[in-house]
Point group: C2
Chain length 437, copies 2
């Protein structure tokens, strides 16, 4: 893509309400545009990042045999009355009357709807276990939406639901998802810590939040830094290995302020291993047994023919929120550096453009064509602007690799630079292989 | 995927309201489940088909340099008051009050919102032309939703918007999109005819519908069948070629009953070239100039510095509706045959399973592994059921190719069958190359 053609409207005057750096950066680089309070359009740059995150989330769900489907955004109130949450949910639920006066709502979460799908479909233990998921827009009518996409009203989320015959089987599904989440965040280039959590309005008796470290985060967190030394690649998707993984992670202290206990923290973690920082919740998983299946009469025949309530868990990842979280974690000292797996482009070519001399632009166009042929997603900055402005701009856009075609480039060698590192003069062949690593 | 693990709940008792064959088939093969009147969940089989359609639509939009973004589902009423459509739109618009009493709505279309995005972003003719698109859920509060996903309330749609400086430039964008639509439908394996159309509530003075032939369609259509002999591959994406394409298509009579003229039809089309059948609208494109940009004050500086209202068009494809339309066009005599490009799986392996002899199942599993390695998306029917039932079931599921492992297969040869054709005995190598064609 040529930058001059990319729809990337930059906001020069930051609105006063953009208080955190992800919100500011997303406006400054034209990733999003607010359409009304807490509701955003995703412009091409932001959209590309969100889609890359979505695809990684999807692949890691598929890897544990979760099946993708899609539930609608608008739900009937009836199933929420069955579960008992319609009155409980409060004003954050966007309630709607359709033209015939029926009570509908914009789904803030989908436990009821998936239970309704499941109870009419699966009747026998033979069809279990099942994990179903979807990636869909949700709505929470926040009274004070803020922090851009981090706490907005309309947000994009992956939510999965597991169905098992027994609590013991359900815990296996829970562990599989736990593992899948850690792998997902690792692929996204983010350090996430699982923390035992309260279950809140979802309910149940077992729950973990996944928190990304970021100094601007909303939650205070306390952890043993050795938790980051655990190597995910040593676990396999077997029952015993995943059970070991859960044990290994729970060996290291980690808590949000909700559950923090100063004495226990100091007793169990040496001073120099203690992390006290802030974090952002990007995932939350729950086991809640028959909390929904029982009132909603979602029954399964067990081996003896007895009808029992299916045991369920639910598992969320905030896909749109992760875009903001990735910025909070990777934007420092006026330089944003996207993790390679979710960068909007793989590399940007920055030619020094001179009105009387188009040599650099022509060289840049040649490189562009070469890289395109290799399926490298490349941005060419063909805007007529001085180099110092260009560099400042690309420090914000955050594409991790740059090819600079200017005074330092030689006949067949170009400056190649990873953000936050020094540049080196490399041939195009060498650049290609670096990018393909 | 193993069929026994696929979440594919079959509905045995068809609801009385399932009157057309796509609605019936989608329920019978567990592609969708109704959650409330006119609102559906997409189960894994239906979801896969819809995603394949979405991806083809996306690729053909990208091919004409349209840029993908995403607008939210919930919009403020304010922009609709600016354009004047808030009162006009009637009860099909799902109107919502948020917790603070603000008037919101679930977008039935996005002309207002995209104009709002555009006017705050682009100020100069230098940034034109632009085409932006998104693929997003829309809502129309139909008084009588029917025909399954063909006329439902919550539906998935690609809508694109073009922005040009002059009417002449805008017509070029229109022609590019016209071309892109024809290529899209061709890749989807569907025969679509463009027809001059009325502009309805979108407005404007130039409009085409794209109609798929299907005897169960909702619109009566009249066309010259030679329109199908036009070869898309002979046109290029240049102004003159696309202008020629428009001329060539308009040389052949085609009209819905809305615009039909019996005398003109008989005068311009020989009897044996006349098609009188029904059709389904799957796309609609509009040029409407400054209908939105003028009242919404979306101004662009032209070369002389004069501010003029940008010239716009909008272009829709019903992605969820296309799933139903593809069934209407390809489901005959109790056999569904998905076009290869949008089939939920590339091929199904059907072993004859005998309780005392697992040989066929084991052979089938070997073939399954081999095909997976080649990135062929394969379904293995491991359900313990007699072959006659299996064949009936797969006639409905509609995967175009079958590998049958049963009495006719030899040591290294298996029955390979394209639906609606005769089977042949082929080696696995030959089967692989057939599937890769």
């Amino acid at each position: 893509m040529y930058l001059s053609q990319l729809f990337i409207p930059v906001t020069k005057d930051l609105p006063a309400e953009a208080k955190i750096k992800s919100h500011q950066l997303m406006l400054r680089t034209g990733m999003i545009k607010q359409s009304s309070a807490g509701i955003y359009s995703w412009l091409p740059l932001g959209f590309k990042v969100m889609k890359k995150i979505e695809q990684i989330v999807r692949e890691e769900q598929n890897a544990i045999d979760a099946q993708e489907m899609l539930m609608p955004t608008i739900q009937s109130s009836e199933i929420w009355k069955e579960s008992g949450r319609y009155d409980d949910y409060g004003e954050e639920m966007l309630r709607i009357k359709d033209r015939q006066g029926r009570e509908m709502l914009y789904g803030p979460t989908n436990e009821e709807l998936i239970t309704d799908v499941f109870r009419s479909s699966i009747k026998s233990y033979k069809s279990l276990p099942q994990i179903l998921y979807h990636i869909q827009w949700k709505f929470r009518d926040e009274i004070r939406p803020r922090f851009g996409v981090m706490r907005c009203k309309e947000f994009y989320m992956k939510d999965a639901y597991s169905f098992d015959l027994t609590e013991n089987e359900a815990k296996k599904s829970y562990n599989k998802m736990f593992f899948s989440y850690l792998k997902t965040f690792e692929r996204l280039g983010l350090k996430a810590i699982p923390m035992a959590a309260d279950t809140g309005p979802i309910g149940g008796d077992l729950s973990h939040e996944f928190i990304i470290l970021a100094e601007t985060g909303e939650s205070q967190i306390y952890a043993d830094k050795r938790i980051f030394q655990l190597d995910l690649s040593k676990y396999e998707s077997t029952e015993s290995s995943l059970s070991q993984m859960r044990k290994d992670f729970s060996n290291f202290y980690s808590a949000t302020d909700e559950k923090f206990d100063e004495t226990k923290f100091n007793e169990s973690v040496e001073k120099n291993n203690q992390i006290r920082t802030k974090g952002i919740e990007v995932g939350h998983i729950f086991y809640f047994g028959d909390k929904y299946s029982k009132p909603m009469n979602c029954l399964i025949d067990d081996k003896s023919g007895k009808k029992i309530s299916v045991k369920m868990g639910s598992y969320g990842i905030g896909v749109s929120r992760l875009v903001g979280a990735a910025i909070e974690a990777n934007y420092n000292n006026d330089v944003m550096q996207w993790p390679k797996s979710i960068s909007p482009f793989d590399v940007v070519i920055i030619p020094s453009i001179n009105k009387n001399n188009k040599d650099n632009l022509q060289k840049a166009e040649k490189i562009y064509q070469e890289l395109k042929k290799q399926n490298i997603d490349v941005l060419l900055d063909d805007v007529d602007e001085n180099m110092s402005n260009k560099f400042k701009k690309h420090d914000l856009i955050g594409i991790p690799f740059q090819i600079i075609v200017g005074s330092k480039s030689e006949e067949n060698k170009f400056e190649f630079k990873e953000l936050n590192s020094k540049s080196e003069l490399l041939s195009l062949e060498n650049i290609k292989s670096k990018l393909k690593e």
